[in-house]
C-alpha cells in the first residue's frame, strides 16, 4: 500500500477546487461591474438575507452579551476587577463576537438557503434554461445575492452589536448589581469608533464569504436531491470555516499597530 498516492490525490483535488473557486470568483466579481444589474433582485435578496436574519442575529447577540457579562464578572471577581464588565463587553462584542456570531448564524441560515435554491435550479436545468433565454445566470442569480449579503451584513452586525451590549447591560444591572448610569457611561466612554468599524469591515467580508460559498456550491451541485443536500452542507461548512479563518487574518491586519 502506497500511502502517498491517496494523499497526493487529495492534494490535487484540493488544488483543482481552489482553481475552480478562483475562476468562479473572477467571473462573479467582473460581472458585478458589467450591466445589466438586477436592482429588483438585489432588493429582494436584501430582504431575504438581511431582514429575515434579524431575529436569529438579535437573539444570539443578546444571549452572547449576557453570558459575556456574567463570565467577565465571575472571572474579574477573582482579582477584584469586576467593575471592568461594561468595557470588556463592548470591546468583545464589537470587535469579535458580534461579527463572528452573526457571521456563523447567517452562514447557517443563508448559505444553506442559497446553496439549496441554486443547487435545485442547477439539477432541474433551470440554470441552463436561463442561459438559453439569453440571461447570464451569474449576473441574474449570483451578483444580486453577493451584493445584498455584503451590504446587509454590516447593518445586521451593527444591530447585533447594539443588542449584544444591551444583553450585557441587562444582565449586569438586573443581577450583578451595576448601576444603570455608570454602566452606560463606562460603555460609551470606552467604546471607540475603530472598534465598531473594524467589526463592520469583518461583517462585509463575512457576507461576501457566505454568498460566495452558497452560490459556488449550489452552482456546482450535481445529481438529484442528494447532490443538492451535499451542496447545502458543504456551503455551510466551508462558509463557517472561511469566516473563522478570515476573522483571524482580519483581526491581525485591522489591529496591527
Amino acid at each position: 500500500m502506497n500511502i502517498f498516492a491517496p494523499v497526493g490525490r487529495a492534494f490535487f483535488t484540493l488544488l483543482a477546487q481552489i482553481g475552480r473557486l478562483t475562476m468562479f470568483l473572477v467571473e462573479v466579481v467582473s460581472s458585478c461591474f458589467r450591466p445589466p444589474i438586477y436592482w429588483y433582485h438585489i432588493g429582494q435578496q436584501m430582504m431575504r438575507i438581511g431582514y429575515f436574519s434579524l431575529p436569529v442575529v438579535g437573539l444570539t447577540a443578546f444571549f452572547t452579551g449576557g453570558a459575556l457579562a456574567l463570565q467577565i464578572y465571575l472571572g474579574g471577581n477573582r482579582y477584584g476587577a469586576e467593575a471592568i464588565v461594561p468595557q470588556i463587553v463592548v470591546l468583545g462584542i464589537t470587535r469579535e463576537l458580534g461579527p463572528v456570531i452573526a457571521g456563523l448564524m447567517v452562514a447557517g441560515r443563508v448559505a444553506a438557503a442559497i446553496a439549496a435554491e441554486i443547487g435545485t435550479m442547477r439539477v432541474t436545468e433551470q440554470i441552463d434554461a436561463l442561459t438559453t433565454l439569453a440571461t447570464n445566470p451569474i449576473k441574474y442569480l449570483v451578483v444580486p445575492r453577493l451584493i445584498a449579503a455584503v451590504v446587509t451584513m454590516p447593518i445586521l452586525v451593527a444591530i447585533g452589536d447594539s443588542i449584544g451590549v444591551m444583553g450585557g447591560y441587562i444582565v449586569s444591572t438586573q443581577s450583578l448589581g451595576f448601576s444603570s448610569g455608570i454602566y452606560l457611561k463606562n460603555t460609551l466612554d470606552f467604546m471607540k469608533n475603530e472598534d465598531v468599524i473594524s467589526g463592520l469591515y469583518k461583517a462585509a467580508a463575512f457576507g461576501f464569504i457566505i454568498a460566495l460559498m452558497g452560490c459556488y456550491n449550489g452552482f456546482n451541485s450535481k445529481g438529484g436531491a442528494q447532490g443538492v443536500g451535499a451542496a447545502t452542507t458543504n456551503a455551510v461548512v466551508t462558509a463557517s470555516i472561511l469566516i473563522l479563518a478570515a476573522n483571524y487574518f482580519l483581526t491581525s491586519i485591522l489591529f496591527a499597530k
Binding site: T120, M121, T124, E125, Q126, D128, A129, L130, T131, T132, L133, A134, T135, Y140
Partner: protein
C-alpha cells in the same frame, strides 16, 4: 446548395475519462425536423447543450446558419441564442416565477420588452398550447407534469425562434398526454416555421415529429435517414432500438 441551419463536425466531448461524444457529424437543413434517438445516457442532451453553448466541446466545430459558434461568448453568444427556443426534459420552469412570467422571461430579460406587452404575448402563446387564462398566475409547482411541459413549450416558442430544441418532450408523460404534446409540437412548429432538433427514446414520438431520424450510439451517429426508412434501415442497432429488444448488438452499460 443551401446553408444548413445547424451543422456539427467531428464534435467530441468527454467528462474526465468518460468519452460521451466521440466525433458527432450532423446536418440539419432549414425547416427540417430532425429527431436524434438513442438510449439513456448516450449523450443526447450533451449534444444539444454543446450546440447551445451550455457545454463546450473538446474538439470539433459547430455552425449555426453557416457561422461558427463553437467558442463564442458574451454578446455574440446571446445573439445566436436569440435564434433558439428550448424545451427541457423536466420543463425547467423557474419555480420562483408565475406561469406567465416564465413564458415571458426571454422577452423581458433577454430582449428588454415591457412587461405589459410581454404578458399579452405570453397569454397568446399559452393559448396556442391549450392553456387558458386561469393558469397564468399560478406557480409552476401547482401544475401537472403535462401542463408544465405545455408551459415549457409556450416558453420555447414565445420569441418566435428560428430553431427549437426538444429534449425528451414526452418522457414521464402518460401515452395520451405524450401524444397531445407530440401534436402540439408538430402544430406549433408548422405555425412558426421553425427548424427543430428533438431527442427522444420514445419511438412513437420520433415517428410523429421527425422528417429525418439519426441514431446516436457510443458517441457517434451510426445511422441517419428519412423517417420512412427507419423500418428498413438494414442496421441491426437501429432495428434493436426501434423494436426495444433486450437481445442484439447494443450492449446496455448497466452502470452509466
Amino acid at each position: 446548395m443551401t446553408t444548413p441551419k445547424i451543422e456539427l463536425r467531428g464534435v467530441k466531448k468527454r467528462f474526465g475519462p468518460k468519452v460521451v461524444l466521440d466525433g458527432i457529424d450532423l446536418v440539419i437543413n432549414p425547416g427540417e425536423s430532425l429527431v436524434v434517438i438513442g438510449g439513456s445516457g448516450t449523450g443526447k442532451s450533451v449534444t444539444i447543450k454543446c450546440v447551445l453553448g451550455i457545454l463546450r466541446p473538446d474538439e470539433g466545430k459547430i455552425f449555426v446558419d453557416g457561422e461558427e459558434v463553437t467558442h463564442i461568448n458574451g454578446r455574440a453568444r446571446d445573439k445566436v441564442l436569440r435564434k433558439f427556443g428550448m424545451l427541457f426534459q423536466g420543463a425547467a420552469l423557474f419555480d420562483s416565477l408565475t406561469v406567465w412570467e416564465n413564458v415571458a422571461f426571454g422577452l423581458i430579460q433577454g430582449r428588454g420588452m415591457g412587461r405589459r406587452q410581454a404578458r399579452d404575448i405570453a397569454v397568446e402563446k399559452l393559448a396556442k398550447v391549450g392553456l387558458g387564462s386561469e393558469v397564468i398566475n399560478l406557480s409552476p409547482s401547482e401544475l401537472s407534469g403535462g401542463m408544465q411541459k405545455r408551459v415549457g413549450l409556450a416558453r420555447a416558442i414565445a420569441a418566435d425562434p428560428d430553431i427549437i430544441f426538444f429534449d425528451e418532450p414526452t418522457t414521464g408523460l402518460d401515452p395520451i398526454m405524450a401524444d397531445i404534446i407530440n401534436d402540439l409540437i408538430v402544430d406549433t412548429v408548422k405555425d412558426v416555421g421553425a427548424t427543430t432538433l428533438s431527442i427522444t427514446h420514445d419511438m412513437a414520438s420520433a415517428r410523429k415529429i421527425a422528417d429525418r431520424i439519426a441514431m446516436l450510439y457510443k458517441g457517434k451517429i451510426i445511422w441517419h435517414g428519412p423517417v420512412s426508412e427507419i423500418d428498413n434501415s438494414g442496421n441491426p442497432y437501429v432495428d434493436q432500438f426501434i423494436h426495444g429488444r433486450a437481445e442484439g448488438p447494443i450492449k446496455m452499460e448497466v452502470r452509466g
